[in-house]
């Protein structure tokens, strides 16, 4: 069979969506309009914690142009949630809901009414006329205060507001402390982060030609959106359809529902197209955030730099509902002790309900918070022992066959030592007779500017963890007579901007042995595809690749048996994982990992507290770069997003209300902020079960950046700043405390 190598796995192919996105022709959810469409506006909660006693819609409904006002009692099954059904679709009295207290608002992003009108302006005016009577309830805004006895309780079935608690008990911790020559302790704090994707939430609901309630929207998993909708509406699955057009970024922020259910509800009730478009302000106010986390950690090591004991308490603010907190904190629990083999470990991790904005999935999924503490501890141990930070990592890094904190070995293909070495070699370090070391860094002439270098490493799971069902379907159809003229791939995986559709086509071309141009993808529509699982957990290349590979192999078999067209549908299931043991945490958490290390150079203005990220060297074991340029794009994108997280992005929440829901006051990096250089060191140590050896990699470059920056700031100033974001104010306060930068 003819094979055009330039268009298959391992080569940089131009993205199939590049031209449309550059020219503006790509259709995003907000671009879709239909004849006779109505407009929707949502009335969000006016109170942070209150019982909704009554909702009077008379005035709103009477406004000219208003078609309908929906409240809780209009929702057939008034509950939703990605991993727990704990949030009412609409909060209010008299609804059919499994939630005890579906009439209670628990945060400002709860929704109490939906107004549908002939124009957007009428809907906007009417939504303010909905008269809601509240009875305030006591509220709590701090995770640790929420855990205390007597704190206001958000959910009847969660005493002390503890949503989840994971324990890890490995080895004999007391013995570990006895062996330790040096012990370091730290308290780490990481802040909120807003996804700030380019495209705010939008969508349109309508009844399609087959009579199905259909929603065109941006999400990360069409079949999950479909399930959430049909559950709430009490419809059979095949009566609900979800279609994704072009999606303007996701980063985890579109994993949970925003406009999906209410659009479907209105279209189903009214039998007319209904459209909604959120403003940037609404987007920031009404979708979840990255968890703020506090970690107290204590690690001990022997004089020769072997970590022998590690203890950590990890507390994450879940906000008012679960979203994916139970999963995110599970990940943080695993990653809080880093990619190191440590014989004696105690970790306790809590996800805690508060009346703050709910937190959920965001690139890294608990990993960045865990890594922030783990790498901070490792860097402090290095300092305390007088051992180079690269050298100490090499002495502790996980190896093939090493036991994780949860008492089981990692899946084969462990490459963290090679990744650390590659990053060190490509950045500021040299390996000599006595191990790794780094020459003194040159300093600028201006005494107000101090330069420093920092290092950190991390590992990131690929795929769903801890026993969550994991699978992905693909269909491959081969058309032609004597030779394959066209390959049609059906796969539901969402193209959120990362390039996955291009990568899927590359993998299908490789599997079917045809040029890239002969492959066509039909994707992200529940009516056309089978369940792919979500675009999250760095899983899509891995899962879609194996599914497409399996389907293509079977289709080729049929092709050889003269079937025309040759069609095969295949479900890929990776090796099973297992949940945490409630007492010891023993588990087989994941079936694959990616490994990453970063070295950074910063320049600190010790007078103003400004930190300039000058250089980043990021080494990633991606197994096989299916499309090297897209891999580089993911590395650079993750680094810049993590730079915002570490230095700039300061979401201010006061008693549950976000005070800066604007990009003029919530600052994300611009082209003027990005580092002078981001050097991507792409390593390819094949994953034994990855498609063509590929591992997932979309998240991992995010993880080590903030601890590497903190280490570099320490190198520059001698001060450990164990909190992010490192805003100038906070940096100046820390510097002045140590007498630095005083006029």
């Amino acid at each position: 069979m003819a094979k055009d190598k330039t268009f298959t796995v391992g080569h940089t192919v131009k993205r199939i969506d590049a031209v449309g996105k550059v020219t503006g022709e790509a259709v995003y959810p907000g671009d879709v309009s239909m004849e006779g469409q109505l407009w929707m506006k949502l009335r969000f909660s006016d109170r942070v914690h209150a019982r909704v006693v009554a909702i009077d819609t008379t005035q709103a409904a009477a406004l000219p142009g208003v078609v309908a006002v929906f409240t809780a009692k209009d929702v057939p099954n008034n509950e939703y949630g990605l991993t727990m059904l704990d949030q009412p679709v609409l909060c209010g009295p008299g609804s059919n809901s499994i939630i005890p207290g579906a009439d209670v608002v628990r945060c400002y992003m709860d929704c109490v009414a939906v107004v549908v009108a002939e124009t957007e302006a009428a809907a906007a005016e009417a939504v303010q006329l909905v008269d809601v009577t509240y009875e305030d309830l006591p509220a709590v805004f701090d995770a640790e205060a929420a855990m205390a006895e007597g704190a206001p309780r958000l959910h009847a079935d969660h005493p002390n507001n503890v949503l989840c608690h994971y324990r890890i008990r490995k080895g004999d911790l007391a013995a570990g402390w006895t062996q330790a020559d040096v012990v370091v302790e730290g308290e780490y704090y990481t802040g909120y982060q807003e996804h700030a994707y380019l495209q705010p939430e939008a969508g349109i609901g309508y009844i399609d030609d087959a009579g199905r309630v259909t929603v065109i929207v941006a999400g990360q998993w069409v079949h999950e959106d479909q399930e959430q909708i049909y559950h709430a509406l009490g419809l059979p699955a095949d009566q609900v359809r979800v279609i994704y057009p072009a999606i303007g970024g996701a980063f985890g922020g579109r994993e949970d529902m925003s406009v999906q259910i209410v659009l479907a509800l209105a279209a189903w009730k009214l039998r007319r197209p209904v459209k909604i478009q959120w403003s940037r302000e609404e987007s920031i106010l009404y979708h979840h955030k990255r968890h703020p986390v506090r970690i107290r950690a204590k690690w001990g090591a022997t004089r020769d730099g072997r970590v022998v004991a590690a203890e950590a308490i990890v507390i994450g603010d879940a906000g008012a509902y679960n979203y994916t907190t139970n999963k995110v904190m599970g990940n943080a629990n695993l990653m809080a002790t880093g990619p190191y083999e440590i014989p004696n470990i105690h970790v306790d991790t809590y996800g805690v309900y508060t009346n703050n904005i709910p937190c959920g999935a965001f690139r890294g999924f608990g990993g960045p918070q865990g890594a922030f503490a783990a790498e901070g501890q490792m860097n402090k141990l290095a300092e305390a022992l007088g051992i180079d930070p690269v050298e100490i990592r090499m002495r502790n890094a996980l190896q093939e066959g090493s036991l994780l904190s949860v008492g089981t070995p990692l899946p084969p293909g462990v490459s963290i030592p090679q990744v650390i070495e590659a990053c060190a070699r490509e950045s500021f370090w040299k390996k000599g007779d006595i191990g790794w070391s780094r020459p003194q860094h040159p300093q600028p002439d201006n005494p107000a500017l101090r330069r420093g270098v920092g290092f950190a490493a991390a590992f990131k799971n690929v795929g769903f963890s801890f026993g969550a069902p994991e699978q992905s379907w693909a269909t491959v159809e081969l058309y032609g007579q004597t030779e394959i003229e066209e390959v049609v791939v059906r796969h539901a995986g969402a193209e959120v901007g990362q390039g996955t559709h291009t990568v899927m086509i590359q993998m299908a071309a490789e599997a079917a042995g045809v040029p890239f141009a002969k492959v066509r993808l039909i994707g992200q529509d529940t009516a056309e595809t089978l369940n792919s699982g979500s675009v999250s957990a760095s899983r899509m290349t891995f899962m879609a690749g194996n599914a497409i590979k399996g389907a293509a192999e079977q289709a080729l078999e049929k092709w050889r048996n003269e079937e025309r067209p040759a069609v095969a549908t295949y479900q890929y299931r990776p090796p099973a994982t297992t949940p945490y043991d409630p007492e010891t945490g023993k588990s087989e958490p994941n079936f694959a990992y990616g490994y990453v290390a970063e070295a950074v150079e910063v320049e600190v203005d010790i007078e103003t507290g400004h930190i300039r990220l000058a250089r980043v060297i990021c080494a990633d074991d991606v197994g096989q770069a299916v499309n090297p340029q897209l891999v580089q794009g993911q590395i650079e994108g993750a680094v810049v997003q993590a730079q915002g997280y570490a230095i700039m992005e300061n979401l201010i929440s006061q008693e549950g209300r976000i005070l800066n829901p604007y990009l003029s006051t919530y600052l994300i990096p611009t082209i003027l902020d990005v580092p002078d250089e981001v050097k991507s060191v792409i390593l390819e140590y094949a994953d034994p079960i990855g498609p063509w050896g590929a591992r997932g990699m979309g998240e991992m470059p995010f993880l080590p950046l903030s601890p590497a920056i903190v280490a570099a700031v320490h190198d520059a100033t001698g001060i450990w700043m164990d909190f992010i974001p490192l805003t100038p104010e906070r940096v100046v306060a820390a510097l002045r405390e140590h007498g630095l930068g005083v006029i």
């Binding site: 507290g609 700039m648 800066n660 990096p669 611009t670 003027l672 902020d673 805003t727 006029i743």
Partner: protein, 301 residues
Amino acid sequence: MKLWHHYHTPSSIDEALALLDHYGGQARVIAGGTDLLVDLRAEEGEPFPALVDITAIPELTIIETRNNQIIIGAGVTHNQIVRSPLLAANATCLVESCGVVGGPQVRNVGTLGGNVAHALPAGDGTTSLVALDAEAEIILNGERRWVPILEMYQGPGQSLINSTHDLLLRFRFAPSGKGEATAFKRIMRPQGVALPILGCAVWLRLDGATIVESRVCIAPAGPTPLRVGEVEAFLNGQPASERTIHQTAELGQKVLHPRTSKYRATADYRREMIGVLLRRTLTLAVQRAQTGAAVPEGVGM
């Protein structure tokens, strides 16, 4: 989203005035619109009946020297100021402040006149105009006259002129004389397009090694831009030394009382930065006055 119904581009001052008159308070002057259009959009009200764009009036787009005064039209864009050799030599601080406003697109469109008419307490261009002791030519209630720049500011966002009725035409100030120099610096969050946390512009004249006259503007330090009289009084007559600059920085921290803005900076941080900024800006201005060199710093592309 429709922001206006009619957009006019008059080619003379008289024509602009006639248009404003015609709409009887229902038309607004636009001079770049990089703030105005954002505000109109945020207001989400009815579209504005008419906008009168003054940037095509030739008289308002010039940069020149006339009668030993530097003249800048109100419709001159930030980037035109940044690229002017005349202003680099005679108003270095103004070039520096206009060079850090927004991003390249904003500087290509936004004007100095718009910056002043918007009357924000910390407009970068304004801070430098105050240090330059500039005057603004306006047509107020039909009367054409020059007013000191500080008089343009009646309160935060509140201008002397009513932009549905009056016009801001030009700015003027004295060219740089012997021993004179200016500098502008600002503290901002680490990105290019945010509003400043604090800006500072300095004008001074040296006689030998002595500072004989100075003007210092720090913003925001009050509801309108202001000159720091105590600092100026202290500086005048002092040797142009590191010690003087150090004392000035301390004095500035003592006499100014910046406030906390929830999203940008606390009063404590601003007070700390007043010292840093005064020292950095004064050091640069003194250097320039001593050497006669005037190369703008930190100006964006």
